[in-house]
């Protein structure tokens, strides 16, 4: 009764205040912004893994029980669902892939990866050949057996795709025989299994289903992967109705915000009572993965019981639920993406790019001279900006103080992480010193550049804060403009190098090899053409160590190579690091088993990966997920 009385008073007050403040306009003129404030930055990295800083849920209500439907609020829809070779995959997409399928390998808590759908993985002496043996007796949801041929088919669809092919370009050939599949590499590839543990191509789907899709690369006549046999079979398969090998079998899917994918327990799951391990997985009857883009709505849905679990990288929301005893919150930052300011340092010529692409002469990186006046070409200017950027203030003011400031692309726990990378930390005296050098290098007394971001208000405000720090440090000797750019254009501008400084988030991964594509000089193409090395830097030390970490099986040597990369980023400041992204997975107390998946052999996996995780071993108290 008290609440109702208060409610009536509030309503009356609210109405009167609104009447006093407002005009008589129609409600159609709403200009409200309901978009997520932190999650609209581009998730442009390859597969990423994080080590969970597990704050164990205190709701260990008995052992696992079967039954229940879990409703999961996800942050985004996915383009081109769901075949791995075509889907544009970020966290929500991975949540789907991990629900309906499983990967060949799993990252484990003890380090590295362990076979999962694979039973073993054996390289030759110089790592130019890998032989995987696939567990026998596993079937896809359509009854097709998982064997070496099926794995080869899956990986070849990815190799033949313009989206996923570049990451697998080091594979020269694949052959299959029974339960084994043999990969022949163009060059040594030690962390090859790591690349088939969390990326979209790690997840196996029925070759019968893949072959039925109209755009499967095997149907592309005139390409290396064209297959007359596949092309002769009928197409018309539905790429949005995936046939995987996972714990849950696809049932229905509608695209778009507020829509959902529904999957039900696969009774012949390989880790279930009818499977090869004889375990009891999965426990849940059904999962509903609902897209809810707006973080406030997603949180409200969790709070009011419409959703049972959500994921988010919004620090304010994570902080809100962390303080709420009515919910379980697991946060993860290790192996996640690093927020940073991408700097365009394109200049000179790129012989590595030319050699890879068979060009006669070294390619000029800035053929039109669009970056010729940028001060960000100079290390001194980049270092001055880094010294003038108060990362802790960014963490405190923009991320509720719950994230860690970043000193490089490798967060704690990742191979290559260093407590001190040599990256410039906030120091106005050092900034002034580098600034003097910057002005000398550029020959200018006024340093100007554009510092853009997406039109998301959160990102614009963050850029403005950083801009104010630089102004405090360098006064009227620096002039930067923050111009919000529509997100679609933003990505295009980064890919073509049409920018000077961009707010960005990328570089999650369980292994430094995951970053090869983003930092290698060979992927740094001239401005105006598409490049995955967005900043277009060319650094022989980074190149050398990227190749080294890929080519050696000595953990110490790999660690050293990754550290060298990290230190080189610290010295040259190709990017201005800000914070390591923190992901939160928040659930009601009835939801159990989050982040506790083990391999069949009992090894704990790294179950929380950039906010995504498996639902395979989750259950609900007394089979009731709604609590």
């Amino acid at each position: 009764m008290g609440k109702l009385r208060t409610l009536l008073a509030l309503l009356l007050a609210f109405t009167l205040v609104a009447a006093a403040c407002g005009g008589g306009s129609d409600d159609s003129s709403d200009g409200g912004d309901d978009t997520d404030t932190t999650e609209n930055e581009e998730d442009s990295g390859p597969a990423t893994t994080v080590k969970a800083e597990t704050e164990e849920t205190d709701a260990a209500a008995g052992g696992p029980v079967r039954g229940g439907t879990i409703v999961y609020g996800m942050e985004a829809d996915s383009a081109n669902p769901w075949a791995p070779y075509r889907v544009s995959c970020a966290i929500s997409c991975y949540t789907v892939l991990q629900t309906v399928s499983d990967p060949l390998f799993q990252p484990v808590e003890s380090g590295g990866v362990k076979p999962y759908l694979a039973e073993s993985a054996e390289p030759n002496a110089d790592y130019t050949e890998w032989v995987f043996t696939i567990r026998d007796g596993i079937t896809f949801h359509d009854g097709t057996p998982l064997d070496g041929e099926a794995v080869a088919f899956n990986i070849n669809t990815c190799r033949g795709s313009g989206l996923t092919g570049p990451a697998l370009a080091n594979i020269g050939d694949i052959t299959a025989d029974g339960q084994t599949v043999t990969f022949t590499m163009n060059a040594p590839w030690v962390p090859f299994p790591e690349n088939l543990s969390i990326g979209q191509c790690a997840f196996m789907f029925s070759p019968t289903w893949l072959a039925s899709l109209d755009d499967v690369p095997f149907r592309n006549e005139g390409t290396a992967f064209y297959s007359e046999e596949v092309a002769a079979t009928p197409g018309g398969g539905d790429p949005a109705a995936p046939v995987g090998v996972g714990a849950f079998q696809f049932e229905s899917f509608s695209p778009g915000n507020a829509n959902k994918l529904i999957a039900t327990r696969y009774e012949d799951y390989w880790r279930g009572p009818n499977g090869i391990t004889g375990e009891e997985l999965p426990y849940l009857d059904q999962v509903e993965l609902v897209v809810a883009v707006d973080i406030a709505s997603r949180s409200d849905a969790l709070a009011s019981g419409e959703f049972d679990i959500i994921h988010t990288a919004n620090a304010d929301e994570i902080a809100r639920f962390t303080d709420d005893d009515g919910f379980s919150t697991i946060t993860a930052s290790d192996f996640g993406e690093t927020s940073h300011i991408l700097l365009n340092s394109a200049q000179g010529e790129n012989p590595t790019f030319s050699a890879i692409n068979g060009l006669d002469a070294p390619a000029p990186m800035d053929p039109e001279g669009s970056n010729a006046e940028s001060p960000l070409r100079f290390t001194s200017c980049r270092r001055a900006l880094a010294f003038a950027t108060d990362q802790q203030r960014i963490a405190d003011e923009r991320y509720a103080g719950i994230v860690e400031v970043a000193n490089g692309p490798f967060p704690p726990g990742a191979i290559g992480y260093l407590e001190d990378t040599g990256y410039p930390t906030y120091d106005l005296d050092a900034a002034a010193e580098e600034w003097t050098q910057c002005k000398a290098d550029t020959g200018k007394d006024l340093i100007q550049f554009t510092f853009n971001t997406t039109n998301d208000p959160f990102n614009v405000e963050t850029n403005t804060l950083i801009q104010s720090m630089w102004s405090e440090a360098f006064g009227d000797e620096i002039q930067t403009t923050v111009t919000p750019v529509e997100q679609g254009q933003y990505i295009g501008l980064a890919l073509t190098g049409t920018f000077e400084a961009f707010g960005w988030r990328n570089h999650g991964g369980i292994d430094p090899d995951n970053q090869f594509l983003w930092w290698f000089s060979g992927t740094s193409s001239p401005i105006g053409t598409l490049a995955l090395n967005f900043g277009r830097f060319q650094d022989p030390i980074i190149d050398q160590n990227l190749v080294a970490q890929r080519s050696t099986d000595d953990p110490a040597a790999r660690q050293a190579a990754a550290e060298a990369v990290n230190q080189q980023f610290g010295a040259e400041v190709y990017n201005l690091w800000t914070v390591w992204t923190l992901w939160g997975v928040i659930s009601n107390p009835n939801v159990q088993g989050l982040g506790t998946l083990e391999t069949p052999e009992g090894e704990a996996t790294r179950s929380i990966v950039s906010g995504r995780h498996y639902l395979t071993n989750m259950w609900c108290t007394e089979g009731d997920c709604q609590g």
């Binding site: 609104a18 009447a19 005009g23 695209p255 507020a258 406030a296």
Partner: protein, 353 residues
Amino acid sequence: MAAIVILIVGWIVGIPLSIRLGLAFLVIVAGAMVTNGSYVLKRLATLVPTLLLVTLFTFFLQTKRVTPEVVAIRVLGTGANADAVDKFIVENNLDAPFLQQYLDWLSGAVVGDLGTSFVNNISVSEQIGEAIPISLQLMVYAQLLALVISVPAGVYAAYRASRRGDAVVSTAALGFLSIPNFILATFLVYILALWLDLLPATSYVYLHESVIDHFKHMLLPSVSLAMALSATYMRLLRGDMVSTLQESFITTAKAKGVSPAKVLWGHALRPSSFTLLTVFAVNSGVLIGGALIIEIIFIIPGMGNKIVAAIVGFDFLVLQGAVVVLAVGFVLLNFLIDLLYTALDPRIRNVRA
């Protein structure tokens, strides 16, 4: 009446909504043709250029917004190589001249083929067919709720014009007019869902899944949309009715001893409702904008969410299809309201004829 029968019977026998609406529209037009053929033909003739302009403008805005490469990368992902980008552009005809792209789309649209989304490869018609009934439900509930609130309030305020009752109702109306619907939505969610736990905060339940849950989930979104509408309607109705109550036929009715309630509801309401009717029709289009925000806040899979997703994801064909459907609906609704005028007031029919 025949149109209503078609809608209800069609629903019972499972005829798709789009076909039911089309049939109902044809019946109404046929009826109007019988009574006022030349007027109906003139109005129909204006529909075609209106729809062409709307679709052309939308298509222009979309295709000029970004380059085909950006669209391709946005859809394929940032890891896509140049070959994949080129293939995507060619396959989706994005490299064709603007006018050719438009005509290609138009030639399909006139025979009911709105194309296939190149973001999710699902038929645009199918996607819109799933979303539009949900948005229509929301808009109908909001409009009905607004009328249920506004008509009695407006009649009462007119009856008590310039007295305390009028002042209270008018002040409340001004208050609700002043509150943007997304603010009201957030407020209602916080109070009624999160604090008092009386209603669900978000999500949508289909009518066939559970009637009770459906209405429980639609109540807050509908109220959020309806309150400002009801305030508008109330003020319009009050104003018109105050004028009507000054008319001589009302004085005559009073002199004959007709009860105040019968004077208000039986004699004054109908001639006072023309402005309300017009604004009601116009607001049906305006509501689309409001529903767009409300659908996002309440995680409702209607046209609003479909449009936002299409804009963000550069899903041209879905956006184009959604705009066409909404534009057609808006134009036709106003057309039907015009026809309704002629039925309500013979003077209008005679003047126009």
